[in-house]
Symmetry: C2
Subunit: 791 residues, 2 copies
């Protein structure tokens, strides 16, 4: 976000259900590879060109396949993590090379007469249509369609069609598996680069007919990876076909060749399947990938396409957001939802990483982004994926308990960043000290429970997550001489402050965590007993929660982000040039930490997540106060500011923030979409609309709405899932219609402070009250968001 003003416009066309690039922007390849990435949460393929090059960054990812690497310290400290984890680019199954009369198809040579790529968010496919004239003046049409199956978890497939256009043409297709691709260096540290240069050790390779298979194992983390591909070829009658297959330790290749007359098409369908495990044997792995292939080939290409569409139809039916009056935002919010679904759909007890499976950014790590930004969306749109993500957290509880013990704390301490559940953060003031992640996980458990009432989950996972995090909080906080319960020395969401006392966000989230643990333990006494929860413990949790200390500046009339924050000097915004953002790349942490300057919403996020703890007047004053220091050097800020701006009545400002969150990747606002999409910001685009302009909150299981539209938006409709029902909310800014679509059910909700009971099939229309008088707010010099119309 360092120079919003100069960001080039989006290379994509605006359509409601697809993202299309017309022509090929070679200079934006890495960026478009992220935007066009396909994933089901289990297998992820960057949108690399079929022929492999040119590329920005080749990428094929398997959720939780990572390599270990050393974490070095200039000065080590007790319990610093020594080993890091980095997602690796696994065996690439995407590559299909084409030779046209012996001339390799390469967009950098010859002439591209047409080049369109289209991400279809209802079909779940990436299509490419090319007309190419080879340097030898032969013209061919190439049409490829790629999918990562949402119904066949281990499977991806590509349909590749090449058609001769102007003359008889000899075409050769080479469909490949390639392990240990060359990648741009990921780190300035030569040891790290060395470790990650060729992370896969070959174990075996195999060929059978048009099926090829490679087995590897990661060098240090010991994860076995099997990749297999099989093929179906079609040519018109009378065209003769030659095929050949080969494999070597690091590559496999199936070659298909034919001579096509003008108008004739060679069609190759490639099925790819992956299997991997840190535990299973080589023979087991050897069998796993072909098994996936067999299932996919039985379903067939058309079957995979149909299943994909059916899965997505079901998703959109309970999740779509319709925006009237802003076509680009309409496209962007669907793009956002599509990628959020792709990140989590089939993760199934694996983490949802900050970049999903769209790129190697942040080493492929999972952060609090998941629970705080992504799961609130999934809870209301595809709840099973939310449950799966929390089951993954639950599966890492032993590691979190070990970490807590290492730190001298009770309960569990979840890692700030991780793939396998072990802490990978190499800078503790913005890692270990950010204990709020534990309350964020608890918050996601509470939200999931309130929205789904999944008792099996509560008994198997939810209660234990709440209890172990509550135990942590009790150990972290203490009662001072005034009887106030303080949490000292922790880092809140704003990473431009660290290791501060009584961070309001952390304290309020801990309070919610403690109370929810006590309530859930009361509700499930048998499970609580097996977890050794006593009456005394529950009472202690409530006592801490009741006495939590929230620092408040009486002089300024605002909450302090952390104790003493409002006494700090302001950052010198007028003396800071645009090129000096993001500040952490141009200023030392010490300078950031001692001043009033905010990287990302912190107190403002507290007002979204714990809106029940603030009066409307406090919200307005606090929002206005913190807005003047918030520079949004994190992509996890605009969506939260949108929600609170909308709540306090700053609707145009909210609209600007909605756009920033929603266009983060389509406009590459932070200039790093190349490393992968900002999944949490995309999820935040949904929240910004639904919680911002829809005013939705889900405190204590009662749905609250307060729709209100900014100038420029003429309508907003969103559907959510809630306790097995589908609820649709439609507003034109003047009135709102609530519709419950499932037969024979009813729901209570709150509309702008008034309770409504909604019966299924009986839409209720109610007026929107006038907006509150908005406070006067101002951002730091040069850091105001771009107005919506300025994109």
């Amino acid at each position: 976000m360092s120079d919003l003003g100069t960001t080039p416009a989006s290379p994509f066309e605006v359509e409601p259900w697809v993202v299309r690039e017309r022509g090929l922007h070679i200079d934006m390849l890495a960026r478009t590879e992220s935007v066009f990435a396909l994933s089901n949460g289990h297998v992820g393929l960057r949108g690399n060109l079929d022929e492999g090059e040119p590329h920005g960054l080749p990428g094929t990812y398997l959720n939780s396949v990572y390599e270990k690497r050393p974490l070095p310290y200039a000065e080590a400290g007790y319990s610093y993590p020594e080993s890091g984890q980095t997602v690796i680019d696994v065996t690439n199954g995407k590559i299909i090379r084409l030779l046209v009369d012996d001339e390799p198809f390469d967009v950098r040579y010859g002439a591209l007469l047409q080049h369109d790529r289209t991400l279809d968010m209802r079909a779940g496919t990436l299509c490419r249509e090319v007309r190419w004239r080879s340097p030898a003046e032969r013209v061919v049409d190439v049409k490829t369609t790629r999918l990562v199956s949402l119904t066949h978890r281990s499977v991806a497939a590509i349909c590749y069609e090449v058609t001769a256009v102007d003359a008889p043409t000899r075409v050769v297709l080479q469909s490949e598996l390639v392990a240990n691709e060359d990648l741009p260096s990921a780190s300035g540290d030569p040891r790290v680069s060395a470790v990650l240069k060729a992370p896969l050790e070959p174990i075996e390779h195999d060929v059978a007919g048009m099926r090829i298979q490679l087995l590897h194992r990661t060098r240090n983390s010991g994860i076995g990876v099997a990749a297999a591909a099989d093929h179906v070829v079609e040519v018109p009658d009378g065209v003769s076909l030659r095929t050949a297959s080969e494999a070597r330790p690091d590559w496999g290749r199936v070659t298909v060749s034919a001579v096509l007359q003008p108008g004739q098409t060679l069609r190759l369908v490639k099925f790819i399947s992956y299997g991997w495990s840190a535990l299973r044997s080589t023979p087991a792995l050897r069998d796993q990938a072909p098994a996936g292939l067999t299932g996919a080939m039985l379903t067939g290409w058309n079957g995979l396409l149909a299943d994909q569409r059916a899965y997505l139809d079901e998703f959109w039916d309970g999740a779509d957001v319709q925006v009237e009056g802003d076509d680009e935002l309409q496209q962007a919010v669907r793009f956002a939802l599509f990628h959020v679904l792709q990140a989590g759909a089939r993760a199934e007890e694996r983490p949802i990483a900050a970049k999903g499976m769209t790129g190697p950014g942040y080493d492929g790590h999972c952060f609090w982004d998941t629970e705080t930004f992504v799961l609130p969306v999934l809870v209301h749109t595809w709840p099973s994926a939310a449950a799966d993500a929390l089951r993954w957290r639950h599966g890492t509880l032993d590691a979190a308990r070990r970490r807590a013990a290492q730190l001298g704390l009770p309960g569990a301490t979840f890692p700030w960043r991780t793939i396998n559940g072990e802490e990978c953060s190499g800078y503790w003031p913005a890692g270990t000290a950010a204990f709020h992640i534990n309350a964020d996980i608890a918050d996601a458990v509470i939200r999931y429970h309130d929205a789904v009432h999944d008792e099996t989950f509560a008994k198997d996972c939810g209660l234990e997550l709440l209890i172990e995090t509550a135990r942590l909080w009790r150990g972290l906080g203490h009662f001072d001489i005034f009887g106030r319960w303080r949490i000292d020395g922790v880092t809140g969401p704003d990473e431009y402050s660290a290791v501060a006392d009584c961070n309001v966000y952390t304290s309020l989230m801990a309070q919610r965590n403690l109370r929810a643990a006590a309530n859930a333990a009361m509700r499930l006494p048998d499970v609580a007993e097996t977890l050794e929860v006593t009456e005394e413990e529950m009472a202690a949790w409530r006592k801490c929660a009741d006495a939590v200390y929230l620092p408040y500046d009486e002089v300024l009339g605002v909450h302090e982000q952390s104790e003493g924050f409002t006494r700090h000097a302001s950052w010198d915004f007028s003396g800071t040039a645009e090129k000096d953002y993001p500040l952490m790349l141009h200023h030392h942490y010490f300078d950031l930490y001692r001043r009033q300057v905010i990287k990302q919403a912190d107190l403002v996020l507290a007002m979204q997540m714990r809106g029940d703890a603030f009066t409307p007047e406090q919200k307005a004053r606090n929002f206005a106060y913190y807005e003047q220091f918030t520079v949004r050097d994190s992509s996890l800020s605009a969506c939260t500011q949108a929600v609170l701006a909308a709540e306090v009545g700053c609707l145009d400002l909210a609209y600007a923030y909605v756009a920033e969150a929603a266009f983060m990747d389509l406009h590459d606002l932070e200039h790093n979409t190349r490393d992968g999409l900002h999944i949490a910001s995309l999820a935040g685009a949904w929240s910004a609309l639904v919680a911002g302009f829809g005013g939705m909150r889900d405190y204590e299981g009662v749905l609250v709405f307060a729709p209100r539209l900014p100038e420029g938006l003429t309508g907003l409709t969103f559907s959510i899932r809630h306790r097995g029902k589908r609820l649709k909310v439609t507003t034109d800014g003047n009135e709102v219609t609530y519709t419950l679509s499932d037969h024979g059910s009813s729901i209570d909700l709150i509309h702008h402070g008034e309770r409504l009971t909604l019966e299924s099939g009986v839409p209720v229309t109610v007026p929107v009250p006038p907006a509150p008088v908005a406070p006067i707010v101002q951002q730091p010099v040069g850091r105001a968001p771009r107005p919506r119309k300025a994109y």
Copy 2:
């Protein structure tokens, strides 16, 4: 200090002027090598056995000869230092091997019939007397005397005498220079070990007669190092002598052999000289070391001995401390003064490192230890060395200005740890954030000025140091809405808190710095003008100083170490086992930072350095409050606690702390004397006696005394230098005699609050008033200092 209770007793005999080890404690070799180290601040030799092995840690150091090494980070940040500096073991000139009838003299073989080593603090020599029976039953006497010359800066010398005892004996002496000795690995980081394994690249080697010379250059830091040795041999008439000399790139050897009859002695005097430079050419270096040799050989062995004693006589005459009633403390304080002198005597614009030149601990780095603990001693005992150390700081001003600019600050920011003036700290919360080092340097400038009135120094160095640090403070602090001047986000001396607001020590030292800069600029307006100091700037400094904010807890009636400190939870001392100290090796920083637990005196140090800013009542209450949290996991604490304990009337407690500071290395209290001596703690032993029981303070140039003795000490006498005069203070606890020894001068001083004028040659005796009622103080469980009598 982790298990004070189990520390073995000192292996040294108690004598007033020497430290003698009778017998050889092989298991304590590394420790005794540090204790017996000789240095002049320019060249340092660990007390390794002449024959090179067995050894604990071989060590030959040249001040400021270091190698660069990478400083790696798991997560890097803006302006983190990337290159570290590590002192290296240079060409070893100490080795003289002896063969007795072809049997190598090695204390691990044969039988040691006698083995005494004696550090003589008046002679400035290390003597060794050995009677050894070889495995072949041949008995020899070996007597060696070693010195590092205080008068010939680049020179060390060894007189080695071997005498046949019981039979005709063929003896061979091999006198060597050895570069790139094998050392125990210094770091867990393999890259660091690699860099330091053989840091010296050979350039040339030379032999001429009995002179050998090796030239090397450090691989990365590019420092040329020349080492040369020449020899004088004596045998009784009639004994025939064979000699040979050789040199190779990494070693040189002079061999001398003779057959001795019983009672006959072979005497070899080895003169060693070093030259080094990062700038000078190979030919210049080649000439430098022999030039030093020539001078030394002209002076001759006896001349070197005589010069050494004369230098030390002069030193002791104005520096000695006499303790009556405690012989071991008497020895320890002289040991302390001797090593403090050795660390700084001839450093001459090179740093005084935390370990002096006695071992590789802390990478050979210089910290605030120098200005805060060492220079206050040198200022009053050997002022020229204090000036030299500050001249070195002044010489690094450009680096400090660059660092300040990097950090966005005006003026200069001196490094937390360094050899060459560049920051080497790899953990910024306890490095960069410890800005107090800048005020500590200013404080040493002020002290030196008050004690010496050296106008040349003030004009050349002192004023600029004061001004550039004052500029820094003005940039670091800010005025809050109440008009209070705050310094936020800094780390004080106590490293169990970090990055806190309004640290009282830092704030008071900054206040002194700002005022002194303004005063000095007024006093030297011409110089100030060349440094671009304006009236406005001086006024601004005074305004900051006048408004400095010192947090005070009205409920508890104590100053807060930093704002909010007294609201933190107490460390769970009763739940902490003795083996869990030092805490930072067993607990995460986050846990230490958020609690009331103090590694080393911080607010208490403020009360020593800025005693003028506290009332006697505040001192007593603050001392008692902070005493209960102070665990002394740093060796830089006991001495300060001694001073304040004495001031508030806790004389027995003060005595215990004096002993802890003074016996730090002779008793190896922290189990790491092997890595080098704790020079600052040794300096602190002097301060603990002189500022503690002597009550000496030197605010604003007026000397203040308040002598008072604990039970067990029957007398204390100390001499100090002050503005070219020598002042002697003698007390028996009941009365005090002040004597000014220089002819025709007078001095004003304050005795227990009353002003006295002292004329030279006219001793004044005054009574000691009764002690104040001491507060009740208690240390954390298990952390009370060992009572003096328990050693």
